[in-house]
């Protein structure tokens, strides 16, 4: 039995609450949760598979779907803005969100234009910011498209 407990018993008092160690532990718990909590946004990724350059030569009889081409062109005074357009008879989406809605409504089973694995090619212009390219890519993936690629200048 600890000395202070024995003294308490001799005095006829009850069990005393040890305030100082409790504050120690409470502050340590507080510190632990503050350190462990990540307040910054999480870094995640989009997956993109780049096929081998010789893949097309393996099967000369393979029929390739005509991809849906989405162009992202730099706009604005310093090229900080971007304008998106879709090749074909469709209106240009005013924003990445409008592009997402268009694709979402076009893909089966909601729409009748494409299957979800229909190839979608995003073609950015040279000076367009990476953020706009990623926004277009994100819109296609968020709409449920599973075959999205980026076309490079070369």
């Amino acid at each position: 039995m600890r000395p202070h407990a024995r003294a308490n018993r001799r005095r006829g008092g009850g069990v005393a609450l040890q305030i100082a160690p409790m504050i120690d532990v409470v502050f340590l718990l507080l510190m632990y949760f503050m350190v462990a909590t990540d307040f910054s946004p999480a870094e995640e990724v989009f997956r993109l598979d780049l096929p081998n350059q010789s893949v097309g030569a393996d099967d000369p009889l393979q029929l390739l779907d005509e991809p849906l081409r989405i162009r992202v062109v730099a706009a604005g005074a310093q090229g900080k803005q971007a304008r998106m357009s879709i090749d074909g008879p469709w209106d240009a989406p005013g924003s990445a969100e409008a592009l997402r809605v268009f694709l979402y409504d076009a893909v089966l089973p909601r729409g009748s234009l494409f299957l979800s694995d229909h190839p979608i090619v995003i073609i950015p212009s040279e000076q367009v910011g990476w953020g706009h390219v990623v926004a277009a890519f994100n819109a296609a993936v968020a709409a449920g498209c599973t075959n999205v690629t980026l076309e490079t200048p070369s």
């Binding site: 340590l28 995640e44 990724v45 989009f46 081998n52 212009s125 910011g129 990623v134 994100n138 968020a142």
Partner: protein, 140 residues
């Protein structure tokens, strides 16, 4: 018992801090944060993280494992050699590309070409796995 709990918690805090310092070895970039995000958590496994770092003078370099490669023909050629070597050692290595939202596409695009070419040179039978880094903002 209290002292033991004190020490254990101090150890936990220490290791959480150390693990965070190790995780901070990549350059800080203003990554794109699209909404609503369709990003996924990067799968575990080997990966080569290439960051496009632009300084105040608007000069960009490709940073791979702390080594800076100039964003020109010679730098890309040197980077391609490293990527081919990595893919030859382990074909499942993912190439993660990190670039700030204002980085021009013509700086980032050669990295995709380089990754594709590296896969071809390394003789991979499957597509090169590429990851495009973006931020997912957390809700409250």
């Amino acid at each position: 018992m209290t002292s033991l709990i004190d020490v254990v918690f101090l150890l936990i805090v220490f290791f959480v801090l150390v693990s965070r310092i190790i995780d901070e070895d990549r350059p800080r970039l203003d990554l794109p944060a699209p909404t609503p995000p369709a990003t996924v958590i990067a799968s575990p496994g080997p990966r080569a993280v290439i960051s496009v770092v632009t300084d105040e003078a608007d000069v960009s370099v490709y940073d791979l494992a702390g080594i800076a490669y100039p964003a020109d023909q010679s730098g890309r050629a040197a980077l391609d050699v490293v990527l081919v070597d990595l893919l030859r050692r382990d074909g499942s290595t993912a190439i993660q590309i990190r670039a700030g939202r204002d980085t021009p596409w013509d700086i980032v695009a050669p990295l995709l070409d380089g990754a594709r070419a590296a896969g071809t040179t390394a003789g991979l039978a499957h597509p090169v796995r590429v990851q495009l880094a973006a931020l997912r903002k957390r809700g409250i």
